[in-house]
Symmetry: C2
């Protein structure tokens, strides 16, 4: 089924303990689209770039089967730019520079061809724009997944809460879950957030894995212990892409299938961090992904016989 | 098979965001013995207390089937005392006071009855004393597990490295693994530490679970997401007790069985943190433990069919 992805398409300049890059391809919608393209070939993107955005980047998305009709090019403007520096623990980073550029004028028009999308992935953007996208769809998608971040909780909490009312799955990290719920315990945080709109909550814990909650159940997916995390940029978006990509491909939005989707998402995130930017996500094979998922299975698989009935 | 536990038996005074205690029963060997007693009834303890140690605490250990012949009572001395305060994240704590007392004169004599032990758990103590215990055994146990902490890495690294040469399994936390190996990546840290003596390494990550490594394999056990962590004191020792208790009971020291042991250890740790001190560990049933292990199974269980052969 078709998947609509909204989010930034950007230039990133990244510095990590392992090296630094000039302006390279980045942005939430870029990572989400590339990642989900390994699961479904009906990926549509709505975003905006400037006249400085290289045609080869658009070709890269197209070569992964991503429909770029909804990628607006504002010829006289510049593409959104973010620059950041990671610390040794790779869990914290400093933003060195943010140039909103085209994002200041972004009006997320939905091409007619995209109107029938059944899966909608709202990548991190101003919550008011995320809401506008939902309102611009003539028919509500079967599943809406929303990613957001602490920044919006601090400057646009009311809009964030409004948009949350409209979505099925919210994806945030542990720090954001605590900020949003004012609860330290993630279990309590999840219970509270699940009264705020979403029926499912994903709490991403970076190198410590991810939790999936609904009101009754909880599932934990580990992160793969890696020799080196080279560049965490885009890991959360690659995760989201694998998650919704698997759901869109399998057309099953049960909790059981969301568990599988979380594992596929975690696998995609584990690839993402192995190289700078989108480099690793550009050249994966189906077999690479299956072997990586097998690594996750091996990592947590154990076999205990209990006397009680399960 | 019989299990020999070495470590402190102590008084703790604990302050957490949820409350504070006067002097209550604590100490590594206490938590390890109580926890392992739910798995095997042949638990022998070697430790030392002062004349101020209440008989009822010794009775408590005995009522759990722990043989206390090796628990020396120095009538004219005082029991080891530790006092600490936890921060809101429960992962960091300040030591408020440490009174070594009887520990300053501790000579870990092994009763003749304990000489045939097949499983040895070296709770956190000065590495020189841990080594002395191994040397005081006429026959090497089938499996030696060593717990230690950053304190000894800082003040007794040479002795620590000597003792490490003599053990099969080392159990430390993530921060300690980084300190000991001088590697940030836990995968690289594990590879390095596994060249320093132990054949197996457990890296405890508190609320983020635990990793088990040998030179070829890795296993990850999650921690159970809890509504509240009430008091983390003794969680690592309860983990160690469940781990070695299961191994001693099942007499199987394969990697596969160590995975199960890690899950049992994680279950015991999850109980420990739900109340102050040893309170929760005093009154568990076999059924409590099985249901808790089932919670771990449910937490990580997923089912993905891959095209590749596993």
């Amino acid at each position: 089924m078709s998947l609509l992805v909204i989010g930034t398409v950007a230039f990133d300049a990244i510095e990590t303990p392992f090296g630094k890059t000039d302006k390279i391809l980045g942005g939430a919608a870029t990572f989400i689209s590339l990642s989900s393209s390994y699961f479904t070939k009906k990926v549509n993107i709505v975003s905006v770039v400037g006249g400085d955005f290289p045609q080869e980047n658009i070709q890269l998305l197209k070569s992964h089967g991503v429909d770029t009709e909804g990628l607006q090019v504002l010829e006289n403007e510049k593409t959104f730019f973010w620059s950041g520096k990671y610390h040794i623990d790779m869990n914290t980073r400093d933003t060195l520079e943010t140039q909103l550029n085209v994002l200041e004028k972004f009006n997320p028009a939905i091409p007619e061809n995209y109107q029938n999308c059944e899966f909608l992935m709202l990548g991190n953007l101003a919550p008011a724009i995320q809401k506008q996208v939902i309102n611009n769809l003539k028919q509500r998608p079967k599943l809406i997944v929303m990613d957001t971040m602490n920044f919006w909780m601090e400057i646009a909490l009311d809009e964030l809460k409004e948009t949350m009312q409209l979505v099925d799955v919210l994806s945030i990290n542990d720090e954001e879950a605590r900020l949003l719920s004012k609860e330290y315990s993630l279990v309590k945080a999840a219970q509270k957030i699940l009264t705020m709109g979403p029926k499912f909550l994903i709490i991403k814990k970076g190198e410590h894995g991810a939790l999936l909650f609904n009101k009754k159940e909880v599932f934990f997916a580990p992160a793969l212990p890696l020799e080196d995390v080279f560049d965490p940029t885009g890991a959360g978006d690659s995760f989201a892409g694998g998650f919704i990509g698997h759901l869109a491909a399998s057309k099953d939005i049960s909790f059981e299938n969301m568990k599988r989707a979380i594992i596929f998402g975690s696998a995609m995130a584990s690839f993402c961090v192995e190289k700078f930017g989108t480099e690793k996500l550009q050249h994966l094979t189906h077999s690479d992904i299956e072997h990586r998922v097998q690594d996750f299975i091996d990592l947590v698989q154990f076999d205990i016989e209990l006397d009680i009935e399960s």
